[in-house]
Homo-oligomer: 337 residues x 4
């Protein structure tokens, strides 16, 4: 007996960028998301393209996105290449008439952002911005609880992001990363807008306190930003690159009737108790914490394109989360220990 | 440019049984495990077979395992059909020379167990028993910690399993389920052996305390079993079908220098605090708790077959975890409220 | 201006026994409980009596309880002398017509228990048995929650007691301590009766697993007892002397609609997170955990006597919590590693 | 036999102010602290003075502090009267040559602070400022851990204070309370200095977001202040009057090698789990959270005076924790929802 294998409709994805996160996306798009087929990959590194194609049975690997966009099997584009390439790749995808998913941050200059925004608007391109935290089951449930009034009206937003170790000096360089407030803070700023609405004012302090060598490239390792929202509510975001004990992301919404906290500090459900100590492990890094959010985000993108729904996270969200680009006032308050 | 898609070697799996868990296995084997291809499914329910085959692009669907075992694309067999069918399916798979993965419980009579064991031994069939908790990252890490001496020598084993609601009376019937001590306790008894070694004596009490209607089919809803191990160490397992608040599985190993606890009570990383209450949600059921363990278990099976390694969980483990079949002495102490 | 110091009515207490716990009681009775005055202490150790009297401004110190019971300032008696002295002291207090508070365990032989019980009954003496856990705010609140139906009907009782280190061999000797099931288990057995009602059957296993030297005096360091209650409900108590990580007392009541857990593992509200570890301290020993319960218990005794209320914990409770004296069946299952 | 009651040396305390906290201090000084005797109380409310004296057997009650300071039994003075009275009472106590303990805040004008500081300096009076959190076992242990280098060098200070309900409008009036940043924040600012050293810059935002009626007296219900320390390290304090779920005080010190958190959200060690919810209670208010800290603080004061030690918390600390009096810049950023 032979099976009649029609299956469901799947979106043919062309993936741009095969770095660390690009490979995760390749795996998700080819094996974990029922709504997608990874039909093509593009990376200037031909070896990476060939390897990923082989590993995940991807029919075609391209050296450039432009070439890939002419492939008729490519129904939609997922962009996870370096930030400075976003402008060109997005414009080409828009020209080719492909729906676009673009990883954050959108760009590092306001001019680039505007050019993409105009192209998307002109061509009415479907464009979904990547902010995976919005798809984390914890954050998603929290937003639902808030919408249901579980904590009354939210009046204070607090968010903390901690990386477990210092990035390379090359990576940390604000010229490419945008600096700690953009590179790390962008997720918290996006959450702030998602939960609380438009930001009215921002102020920040920062310092190079744990890794003095970061000063050589002009980056900070710790920063605290406060903000007021358009309706007068308050917010605070604190960021650190020396979350030595683990990757630690937590957010709180304090309301008029209660509070809601989103966290996750433990990887395994184990507690070890020995003489004078009770200990459990922590979450190593962002992939362990947000693996499922990344998958759900790409699945949501595919469903939106297939079903003709609007993008829940827009290019406007991508621009707003950048600041633009967060307080100049910061400088005056920076210190070095 | 076209991709040279060689990819890695994959094990062609024939899946027997497409009930609730069977469909999860179908998804895992076809989309989540790089080492496997789901090449065939078999179920007496032809509709189920056709649906699953269509959903996961499985080349062939069969009405019987016997037919499927003649398919040369089937390199190995995964059995997740009802317990009473295990004997026939396993014997046919062994006859066909296929490596076997069999879901727990192995069987409900000792005679059936022995016939399978003999067949497996005679034909030197690769046979891996399914006890997914051993592959849960929490339990696996705990065993490693114990092996490293983190708690000294473990001397007391404690394990609790709680189901969040009553099973159907049909399911609960001890004639098919084996009763609460087998149906629920089998995982805890397997963990007991895995962590502590051979069991010497077992004693149990039980009652039908929360769902009086279970008495009509002869099942209990609560039971507590104590055991001594061959080396004199102690163990206790308590089971309930009225874990009303959620699916709750926890185990503790108390050692001479400390203790280790494995649990997991929360599904999302959210805490909501309102007037006089701090609340978070709980794990709904076993699939939310052990989803990853199930996937890792099947992946481990495929890797073992591909690499020619011995099965880490054997048919002997499957037999021993059944008791056989746990204390007769129980009856005398049973009560009904 | 001079103060008119009438104050409230206070009960004049005569305290028998000035060991470790006796000194705590002396402090509580003289400085922490508004309803009591410590008017006399008695201990065969004259130095101890003099020291405690001096430290807490106690008007009189006696060498024997008998002498003290003739003191008209002594309105009521608190007995915290060694268990083997309880019979004589209680009989003398009863003879002297004094209301009595007696620390657990009541006695180590059933004959002694009965003689005290008869004397108390004959003279209609107010007699309050000491089981401080019933006065712990956590346990007290739990019982209230259960009574209010928060978890439906409780059907399973689970309790764990762990001491952080081995007692002296002299102390552990079952001839004076009663052995682990009496010495440690008495609190859990009393809780079992308090929450669940009369016990119908008990069975236990035990072993000398962590401190082989305990075998020389005939004591165990680990034991697990299961019990059925008169209404068919189930219970389990596990005890250990190697709770190496801290003093750990926890109890759970599983009901038909939910569960309630009483614990307390942390002394200070501190968590320290460093590379790969999240740690907090634990409760060192029983005084840190139950300090407030001890105070509340004595205060309750004084209020009951002053207000003419019945004792909430009776000599009957004292006898029943002993077992009497827990399962003989235990022996057969004992092991030594 | 009669007891030779020499006892230990005790400090005769004169207590000024018998409001809510004053009564707690009266109880502690008379019954819980071995080093003190409460020999006199003073309050303009003669009834309150008489009642407290009667309840705690205090020999003398006075209508004014000045009168009380002439009492030779008064070895030292504890001041817990309203803030606006501190200046007069302190100056009189200094004149009378009495060692002084003064509850926070020191005063509401800088001029008053300076006059007290000068008097204390001129007369070399022993003066201990009241900041009870420093005596909380949790905060005290945290400081020790930090000093021991458990988290490397602390670089970021974070502290949160939440009151469970709105104070009366009369109390909240910034003219007497100092406003939320002084009234609530003073403890966090003192902790900031205690853990991190001198503050260099402060900036704050605030709003009247949960209780619009507070605007009528000019107070805020939420505020967030960021600060940089003299060595360039960073700090943030957030305050709310709508901690609806309970009294919640938490502090974190993030270091170069780890982090330490001090909290305490639970009053009883109980968790109740019912359908879809896991819940425990919270700490009702400051007395439940810091009861022991208050007692330890007064005990420490008495020991310092008796042993001739310097005050661990000085009048300088009292002044610095006030700001002085926190950012003017705040105003511009205030919002009203």
């Amino acid at each position: 007996m032979s099976a009649a294998s029609q299956g469901r409709r799947r979106l043919g994805i062309g993936l741009v960028g095969l770095g660390r996160l690009g490979r995760v996306y390749a795996r998700d798009l080819s094996t974990r998301i029922a709504e997608t087929r990874l039909v093509a990959v593009a990376d200037t590194n031909a070896d990476a393209a060939r390897d990923v194609a082989a590993e995940f049975d991807v029919p075609r690997a391209y050296a450039t996105p432009r070439e890939m966009f002419t492939d008729p099997a490519v129904d939609a584009v997922v962009i996870v290449s370096p930030t400075h390439t976003h402008l060109d790749v997005v414009l080409e995808a828009v020209d080719a008439g492909k729906p676009v998913f673009c990883e954050k941050p959108l760009a590092l200059t306001l001019d680039e952002c505007r050019r993409m925004q105009e192209a998307v608007a002109r061509r009415k391109t479907f464009f979904q911005m990547g902010f995976m935290r919005r798809f984390d089951p914890g954050y998603a449930a929290a937003r639902l609880h808030v919408a249901e009034g579980r904590i009354g009206t939210p009046v204070v937003f607090k968010s903390t992001s901690r990386d477990p170790y210092r990035p390379s000096l090359e990576y940390a360089n604000p010229a490419s990363s945008g600096g700690i407030l953009v590179d790390m803070g962008i997720h918290d700023f996006d959450l702030a807008r998602w939960f609380m609405g438009d930001v009215a004012t921002v102020s920040a302090i920062g310092g190079t306190l744990a890794y003095p060598e970061l000063a050589s490239v002009g980056d900070l390792d710790n920063a605290i930003a406060t903000m007021t929202f358009a309706d007068g509510c308050l917010g605070v975001v604190d960021l650190t690159r020396n979350g030595f004990y683990g990757y630690d992301i937590s957010t709180e919404l304090l309301g008029t009737q209660g509070t809601i906290r989103i966290g996750y500090l433990r990887e395994t459900p184990i507690v070890i108790m020995t003489k004078n100590s009770v200990a459990h492990d922590t979450v190593p890094y962002f992939m362990e914490r947000f693996e499922r959010a990344y998958t759900l985000q790409l699945q949501n993108f595919a469903q939106n394109v297939l079903d003709g729904r609007d993008a829940p996270v827009t290019i406007h969200d991508g621009i707003e989360a950048l600041g633009w680009r967060v307080p100049r006032r910061t400088r005056a308050d920076q210190g070095t220990r």
